[in-house]
Symmetry: D2
Subunit: 303 residues, 4 copies
């Protein structure tokens, strides 16, 4: 922070957001596709730009965009690996860049099945969820956070909500059989010491499977309990992950009262409401988790 | 149309839009889920409501909503079959309702794979495309239009664009190897005489497969040619379908010029642009197609 | 339509969509801004492109985009006037282009008030509504449709809904005091013979004012009645307009039942619901309105 | 945090999100409207819910929603004041609720001008920006953060970008006359000691005016400099505000090259790009600002 009549510049970062990168690998007839949305933001000594309009330190956001595309020429591999390469470049190339934040979304494509086989170069977007990755560098420290968003899941039974406190504003009736539905957003942070050994694509697929399994396994007394189960499953199976955070809406499905029409409704016909919705956020972590530093700053909805 | 100082009421319809309906069938431990967004709109004699504020004919939109939920108690089956039931009800129940338009989107859910098997009551939303259905009734005539939207596909080669006219505003360079990408939106109209025999769910799955295959099969000289191929494939295989309309963006993927950075780019690194995009719309139909009447009115982007 | 084993090409159009154009007029220190989203689509003889992959007639969508920007160099003026120029160009320049559809959205900017005066070159986006325009050419015929969308209005009283039919699915209670809220989407078509004389910017401002006034004036027995009042006001004041179409949601605001908490609620605390919503669509027109031809095709939600 | 085989529960919060509240004050014929989207999240001892499925502490999110509506019966006043009342209620009513986070968006409505005067009970939504408010309680500490989002502004001149470092990935040409456009998102935190005295509505209007003025005043060498100017202006005028954070896209407007068409383009015709965009984020604060605690956690894009 630096002075200006007692009013100073605090934390800051800047860069290019949402660089839409599609990489086709076409070494053989069987093409591969990687589809990402990349954001690069630099941190360091940018005081003169803010206070004096001196851009000598301001690596143009256009340059950051160019770098993303140039680096992709050698391949992406995984969003995490790609962001690590970008971060290493910017912090080593420019003396005043002491850190930064690099983030990506990745969209999955499946091969089109045509005439009974998976096509070599024709793809259909999967759309089940969005994969996310964040790399935060702060001087010598590097944090990697993988994640996913918009993974919409639903259980049509084996969920209830009972035993909650009743005050003067409580009108909700308890139930031991309801629909439980949510859009899973999860972010998991790796132990920095383990990052070099991680196969991020394999790790991602496995964590996603564990989250889905965790969602299905037990009767859910509340989304909080299910969330903890899901997170614990991931940490038990993945010693290289130190913590996992969730932000999950409780997407209400209300049983429609059909009695005015002379009909029963044994949990068969539901109104799927938009707003309001429950919102459950929590962290599951190891007691001896590494220090996260500022890795979680600026990620919405992960307390 | 009726007079009011020479200013009259023209075409009109009204109803309840976006009734979010989730139907769980739970006769056995293996639950089924149907997830729809239903719109009901009535047409007929509603003149007095518009000109005199007399609501005697105005079946409340709330009543239309209730009817959607009540009818779902007996099952949905397919969006087309469900809309046909709704349309039949409203036009037979109220003398002044001479027709209407009933529409639905359906969202697909897959069973979660957990511990090596497909779960009985836990689902994950598929997200590959949205299924659509429209039923239009106009007196004795009933039209059924099935469709899909947001089916995003991409070919990483076997597409070009050459031989187009050059005028003073033309700067585009021809190419015989580019990415072809689009979000398929298609709507197909059944021959009214054939509707009673159609298995709409089976038909839908088959048409979707044909569209995907049609997208992959030939070198594409332009999206127009690919569109026609896709449509023809559907009509050849499905005699009960009279016409199919497409509205497809040409989602541009620009090869990034990496030469300033001393790198080549043999169609490997692309910038996926948002706007503007090409927009290709066309109808493929039988020469002796049945009369569509007003079935296509009000559907955006299908000329 | 042309043959291909009995399967033929029907109606079709293609072009470039959503060309984002910002035009700054800076002849004096007091700059002017025009901010548009332009779509150009051509119709005519494009059979060979669809059936044979022959692009000799396919004016590139990239060329259409270039033309939009080149034509903007001489000024925009109004979206309608700009689209008329584009349409005239494409239909006269290419023998096989017999018509087309040109559409635009325009976004309004206000001058920033700073130090007590309206700034010369700093603007803040208004956001109250989106202005729309469509020009459709079909051989010698030209249609112009102006419009607006997303004009959100609300009356906190002077609205009710009573006297509607009651059937077995009716549970709604009548009311003579409710909130009436909607997003006005309206499109008005000019008499082709009058188009040459219209000042489209002045006309637009006046129609918008009349729509707002029409919304306020009378007790509303239903949105249908209010819609007709709004449309009639426009047609009475503007003889050059032949018809106006509306698509308006009835955005429900439900009085929250506070009685469980020992509180009354005399229409003061409301839940604003998202879905479902009512949807009221109607046309108000002159008895002797000119023929619209295919001008309304492909506009969603205007029956 | 509590133990479970070394895997423990970390930071967590839960509640009801996006409670859509419209409050009409109708003591006189001149109605007032307040339109909010309220989120309530509780923090405290919720360990048993996560680990054991014991809901004895879980104040239902439905109860939180009811409380929002019940509290609105006595009026809203300002989003900040309303959230403070909610926070005080939940933390005093339930022994195990030690804190929480309450947030709101507020949407502005203008009176419709009809027949030359502002209407008593008919309103049109303003749409210029969204007002935001957050209250965070953590034991005895209470933080209030006001803000706004989506305030879209543009300068058609008096902006440039020059003097930036050039590396091997730099291709951008310097300019001293470009369009500067952004969507202002700003959040300002009050000194906790001053909160009791603040008139939040008056403060909001004044800060918004200062931000708009700050945007207009100086030649902008980069958005960073303009951002700092805007923030400093607010802090100088408002001693009760300790810091202000910005997250602002640099919305690129590219001068279209019209030379292939024989036309010049002296900064008159622009392509407004969607993605990628620059993204500039920074904090402006007092050297002796109060401790923010965890007040900023979970707000996206404010580093």
């Amino acid at each position: 922070m630096n002075e200006n009549n007692n009013i100073v510049l605090g934390a800051n970062q800047y860069g290019k957001a949402e660089v839409r990168l599609v990489k086709i690998t076409r070494d053989t007839e069987r093409h591969e596709i990687e589809d990402l949305n990349v954001t690069s933001q630099l941190r360091g000594d940018f005081l003169a730009a803010h206070l004096e309009g001196d851009n000598a330190h301001v690596v143009a956001t256009d340059t950051q965009k160019n770098t993303v595309y140039a680096f992709a020429r050698a391949g992406v591999g995984s969003p995490e690996a790609f962001l690590l390469r970008l971060g290493e470049h910017f912090t080593s190339e420019f003396a005043w860049v002491s850190g930064g934040r690099w983030a990506a979304e990745q969209y999955k494509w499946d091969r089109i099945e045509a005439h009974g086989q998976a096509h070599n170069h024709a793809f259909v977007r999967n759309g089940q969820e969005v994969r996310t990755a964040v790399v935060v560098k702060d001087g010598p420290n590097t944090q990697v956070i993988s994640g996913l968003a918009d993974l919409t899941v639903l259980k049509s039974t084996q969920s209830g909500f009972e035993g909650y406190p009743v005050d003067k504003y409580t009108t909700l009736a308890p139930t031991n059989d309801r629909i439980l539905a949510t859009d899973v957003a999860a972010r998991w942070r790796f132990n920095p010491a383990a990052v070099a050994e991680v196969d991020f694509n394999k790790s991602y697929d496995d964590v996603k499977s564990l989250l889905l399994e965790g969602f299905t396994e037990n009767y859910s007394t509340a989304l909080q309990q299910t969330l903890f189960d899901m997170g614990k499953k991931v940490l038990v199976a993945h010693p290289e992950i130190d913590e996992i955070k969730f932000s999950m809406p409780n997407k209400h499905h209300f049983v429609v009262d059909l009695s005015p029409f002379g009909l029963d409704n044994p949990n068969e016909v539901f109104f799927a409401a938009d707003r309001p919705y429950g919102l459950i956020e929590a962290t599951v972590l190891r007691e001896d988790a590494s220090d996260a530093g500022n890795a979680w700053d600026g990620i919405a909805g992960f307390c």
